[in-house]
Symmetry: C2
Amino acid sequence: MNVEIINVGDELLLGQTVDTNSAWMGLLLAHHGYAVTRKVVVSDEPQALRDALTESLQRVRIVLITGGLGPTRDDRTKEVLSDYFAAPLAMHAPTLEAVQGYFERRGLPFLEVNRLQAMLPTGPGTAILPNPRGTAQGMWFERDGAVVVSMPGVPHEMKGLMEEEVVPRLNAQFERPVRYHRTLLCYGKGESYLSEMLGEWEIGLDARGVALAYLPSFGQVRLRLSATGEGARALVDGCVTEAAELLAPYVASTEHETAAAGVEAAAAGRWLAAAESFTGGAIAAALTAIPGASQWFAGSVTAYTERAKRELLGVPADVLAEHTAVSAPVALAMARGVRERLGADWAVATTGYAGPGDSPEVGTAFIAVTGPGGRERVEEFKWGRAREVNIQRGVTAALHLIWAEMRAEEEVCQKKVV
Amino acid sequence: MNVEIINVGDELLLGQTVDTNSAWMGLLLAHHGYAVTRKVVVSDEPQALRDALTESLQRVRIVLITGGLGPTRDDRTKEVLSDYFAAPLAMHAPTLEAVQGYFERRGLPFLEVNRLQAMLPTGPGTAILPNPRGTAQGMWFERDGAVVVSMPGVPHEMKGLMEEEVVPRLNAQFERPVRYHRTLLCYGKGESYLSEMLGEWEIGLDARGVALAYLPSFGQVRLRLSATGEGARALVDGCVTEAAELLAPYVASTEHETAAAGVEAAAAGRWLAAAESFTGGAIAAALTAIPGASQWFAGSVTAYTERAKRELLGVPADVLAEHTAVSAPVALAMARGVRERLGADWAVATTGYAGPGDSPEVGTAFIAVTGPGGRERVEEFKWGRAREVNIQRGVTAALHLIWAEMRAEEEVCQKKVV
């Protein structure tokens, strides 16, 4: 069952807001057997939404709209849809009560513009989807077998509506052919090299009805395999196993889509710590974004200055003087220091020149991992000159490195037990 | 001059990749006087790109395409465009040489699929835009006064092509009416409250030819004012001054679009540090993303455990025991600790329950700032239950808090000098 998404908002076209909503919606919809076949971003201008909606309804029977439902004058989605579907606005008593309660609980004044949020479309084929997280409600329009849904663009409000209202209603109404995807997470080689390793096997996938896509990002490549229909799951699972054999040395996981998720799984019962120089807190932020990280992530130090490396991590002054801050011995000393001070089982440390700039050092980085039983590893990297890219590459490399070491230690332990 | 953007890639529709490219493109294009009027995301299926391109060319004279130029079999944009514009593919010698050099410098094997990257469209109205950052080149097609450009989807490759090739060529070819934007950054009140404060003034903007949009995110609201034509700059500047007076207590800046940029500007000649609990490194990551942060950001500690708070920040055990880790005294002790240990001028600290979960503490947070001359401030916050939202709100609140304190101190110092 195909779906199109329309995002409304000048701020998305102007680039003042990055659209994270539609990626989240795409994942959720794919999980439930819907395929997003097109996404369109239009301006706040009413005619732009009308045009895009008319075009989408010529192609698909489900259209999801986000944005343009705020209380201010630049938000006009509700008026456009009320008019488009001939669903006149009227005061919706349950919403008025809910919105008043929302303001009361927060001790905020209830303004006229907030009251107007309860003026909502009415009539046959029209339903209001309650949004307990904000003041703009979801709206559901059913016309000639097609469904158009409007939601606020605020991410957590949209997510709540999708999970609690929109997807259950769609599932009750539409039959979906099964579309099944799985991802193979690779690290250490680029997409063209991996494709060469797959060789004839990849070319044969078409005939088997399996699609393969390469999703490279910052030194790692995800391979997504997908198929449609009754036997899709068995078919894709079989292909994942085959691909994992062909690419064995570079396969990080057939289960986890990100290195952070892999680290979380490997961390069960262990404490992790990080010491960051050029990655500047981004490793810690990636790990602590995971709910429950406080059960296995002890903490981290971002040591941007030599003083910070000495004071907070105990890196010896002579090691800094002899090798400079960007060196393998300093990376290792940082990892050891944070592991010891936080009483962690595992630690990872980064030091490098993120850039930007023309100096020859830019792009040089060292990443060290230290773990139980004296297990230690340091790697040197040479990347490009773009700061943002180097930071992201550093995070990816650090997570893959500590994850690989944790897996390797796990295997050794299992062998010992056997 | 209107522009449409087409992004190609199943991974964008499936949600496996968040599209940050088009926001960046939107900002750059707006800066040069182009208006992005629509963005469309289509699948890797060749017909989807053909359809979207035909539709866009009915509306605008500039279409920018990203994605689908990789070396693997799922990437088909080049073939589609070669066919669409009747521009046959041929070996492009300068590209072949450049791509071979790219692999040699990195010590990587040069494969047949990489050689094929140098097979590029040819013919009148067709130009190759060199991409020194990767192996997929930019392609420029000019037909009947319209321009279609294809670029790789890898962010830093696309950005290099846009800045060095695409925008200069577009500027040489198209006259643009001046469109001028400015942003007012507000903090401390929601959009409906701010709109109420603007009152009649906002309603009068239409007649003056000025558009106002509200861009709320995590507790802050940016107001974007824009106008078109000769006097746009003076008109918008005047309106920004008027709005800043009406909203005075909640205006953080009329210059800086983000709190991080404001902190950077205020930090000149000072050293900053951070101690993070529930924000987990995200404050450090936001600050160190700024080029040159090593000149004013000393470092930070992510202290997820009580041990980390004691060991790395010197938070006294009795303060932790008496007040618990999520309390005003602990936030203040964390800020003082990191400021002292890193010899910083200013420090900000966060402690709180990010969630998720049903426990009543979730959403409670304390943020403390400490600075020169004994200047200290602690604030308590009560947010919702969504972990990701609470972390983002914490980062935003912490940056606004330290920024406001730095501005206040700066004002005191200026008064003393006068």
